[in-house]
Amino acid sequence: MQAKARNIYLIPYMLWIIMFVIAPIVLIVYYSMYDIDGVWTLANYKRFFTPVYLRMTLRSFWYAILITGVSLIVAYPTAYLLTKTAHKELWLLLIILPSWINLLLKVYAFIGILGLYGPINSFLELVGIGAKQILFTDFSFIFVAVYIFIPYMILPIFNALEELNPSLVAAARDLGASPWATFRRVIFPLTMGGVKSGCRAVFIPALSLFMITRLIAGNRVITLGTAIEQHFLVTQDWGMGSTLAVFLIIVMGLTMFVTESGNRVR
């Protein structure tokens, strides 16, 4: 009786897993081995290891690392200070609220703010530095990306800090540790789990986002995501697009493995 009931629930769910988790990955790997004319070949992989694609991949990684690093540097103090405020739940909610708003609208707002006649440039002119081209630069791209991702970094760190036993901090201070030493030797290591999940939540999307690069960075910044979108929707070269996607899936798997295994040890 029970075995039968179990099977019934498993059917729709397994169907979903096979159709939309396993089949898509298999299909991506399959397509990556066909060129644009539908001939079986490994040429796509060979092409991936040419300087053009390797440079693009490395740059994409570099941007993702920068975005993750800057997010972490800004998010950690924010999360830490949030745990010290009264009504911290309310403040946390206010931090998360912007992430409910459609991403494209926020990106769109930056087109105005960072534009040639936007408030930032008016301010620069007022100070005497003079208007600068801010939009379509690496700086604007990283700034907007950090803006978009920061709530996803703050949330896990905040949770980790909340779980931290305050008596450990008090003990470290009692034993004569300076505030900095307490942070470096006690608080930070103990909240490593939150830092890791935050980095994972930012790094993978940062590697693959494409609308921010298109709208904010013009076509100057090409990430893996942009390249995949380009291959699938513009040049219709699904084979090469799939090859890049396979690579992105491998990176994703590695990132998951690194951040998960670290958590298990703790």
Partner: protein, 267 residues
């Protein structure tokens, strides 16, 4: 301690200002008669009027809502079944395997989901348009529902089900009268999350939608690529208010939903 207190307040205030500036910037200029996102000329409601008179935009809004409601309803059903299935699997290994497969979709970047669904849907011959978007939205919402429902199922004491069985309830009664009411907060949260994921999604929809069908996100993207138009500002103000209402509504309902159940348990 006092000194760092002042600095930290400044830091937090700065973070909040940066977080909210773009949103209020958009709203502010939606009332600008000047037609650009700098130099405010005069107060006007013209852009809102334009939004309300644009039938194309209205159809797109309807599309978005229909896709969101349908996909979250269907994915909630599949997701609840999935959560029930996972809790009933005895072997720890299978269970972990199922959970890992479930999480693959959540960690996958949108571009991968979009590209692979595009391949899949064209391979099985679905025409790109309403159905391809709907299917994709159902597919990426299922794991979120599973994750929201699973903790509720796990915290439910197995004695509840045993008691119901002993008292002669059929499997069906156990499900509809004991299990589902118990996990309903989780189901509701899952449905709500699926709804917001669907409303918010851009990348996946962008991949699997053909030329004829468009959702709000895709439309905003194509408008924004053409440059600044204050109709987008007016539209985003309306969306912001709707989001705010949705979030507040969600909090009120979950608060109200949790209180009576707590009182019930005490009786």
């Amino acid at each position: 301690m006092k000194k760092t207190g002042k600095l930290s307040v400044i830091y937090l205030v700065l973070v909040f200002i940066i977080l909210y500036t773009p949103i209020f910037y958009l709203i502010y200029y939606s009332f600008n008669s000047g037609g650009s996102m700098h130099h405010f000329q005069e107060f006007t409601l013209d852009w809102y009027e334009e939004v309300f008179h644009d039938t194309r935009l209205f159809i797109i809004l309807l599309n978005t809502l229909v896709v969101a409601l349908l996909s979250s309803a269907i994915s909630t059903i599949i997701g609840v079944a999935g959560a029930l299935a996972i809790t009933r699997v005895r072997s720890k290994r299978t269970r972990n395997a199922l959970l890992t497969l479930n999480n693959v979709m959540i960690v996958s970047p949108d571009v991968i989901i979009g590209a692979s669904f595009l391949i899949l849907l064209t391979a099985i011959g679905v025409n790109l348009g309403f159905f391809s978007v709907l299917i994709s939205h159902i597919a990426f919402s299922v794991p979120i529902v599973v994750l929201m429902v699973l903790p509720k199922l796990e915290e439910m004491s197995p004695t509840l089900v045993d008691a119901a069985r002993d008292l002669g309830a059929s499997s069906r009664d156990v499900l509809t009268k004991v299990v589902i009411p118990y996990i309903s907060p989780g189901i509701f949260a899952g449905f709500f999350m699926a709804l917001t994921y669907s409303l918010d999604d851009f990348a996946v929809t962008f991949f699997v939608t053909g030329g004829g069908f468009s959702t709000l996100s895709v439309e905003i993207y194509s408008l924004a690529r053409r440059g600044i138009s204050l109709t987008i500002n007016a539209l985003s103000t309306l969306i912001f208010l709707a989001t705010l209402a949705l979030v507040i509504g969600y909090y009120i309902i979950t608060k109200r939903g949790s209180k009576p159940s707590g009182a019930e348990a005490r009786e």
